[in-house]
Symmetry: C2
Subunit: 106 residues, 2 copies
């Protein structure tokens, strides 16, 4: 069990995917540039088997923005996008309505 | 900043809204019954000004399922749904594809 403070330490915000590139060294990873309101961040995400680059560009997603940055196979990831991990598929988690980039999620 | 362990303590899952009732004692609150896979839970959520009951029934959402239960104006809430809190609107956070209820989110 967690309490509300545990949850509110996480800064979850909407973001819009601006650019998509293949990771130079990992066939299942994309390197994304995501606008999270006041700035753009770079994310490494293992969604390449489940989404095309074309599907991703312009899409609004949900990002954990205050996660410690980490190098994933040599490429910096400055946060993490949220996705539902089904048995044979991965689904991005998205806002149901059009809201500005950087909108806080609670 | 948070680390991945802080995030993974939170059990976020997809859920499907099965029933919607007005909270008996608060005009902005709905009381929802949500199927989260192996069971159904009751959630109290302040989304009544932003969604109709009809829009909500059958909708897939994202739920923090291991949040300590809490009484909200006398009605038990056994978790929390995620929503983007824009200036004048609230948007539910939803899976982008059709995935089974109870699918874990990471």
């Amino acid at each position: 069990m967690v309490n509300f403070d545990d949850f509110s330490r996480l800064e979850l915000r909407t973001g819009k995917i601006m650019e998509v590139e293949s990771h130079p060294d990992a066939e299942k990873l994309f390197v994304l540039k995501v606008n999270i309101g006041e700035k753009a961040i770079q994310l490494v995400a293992g969604i390449k088997p489940f989404y095309s680059s074309q599907e991703l560009i312009g899409k609004s997603i949900v990002v954990l923005v205050n996660l410690e940055p980490k190098d994933i196979r040599g490429v910096r990831s400055e946060g993490m996008l949220l996705a539902a991990q089904a048995k044979d598929d991965v689904s991005l988690i998205v806002p149901n309505k059009d809201v500005p980039e950087g909108t806080i999620i609670r």
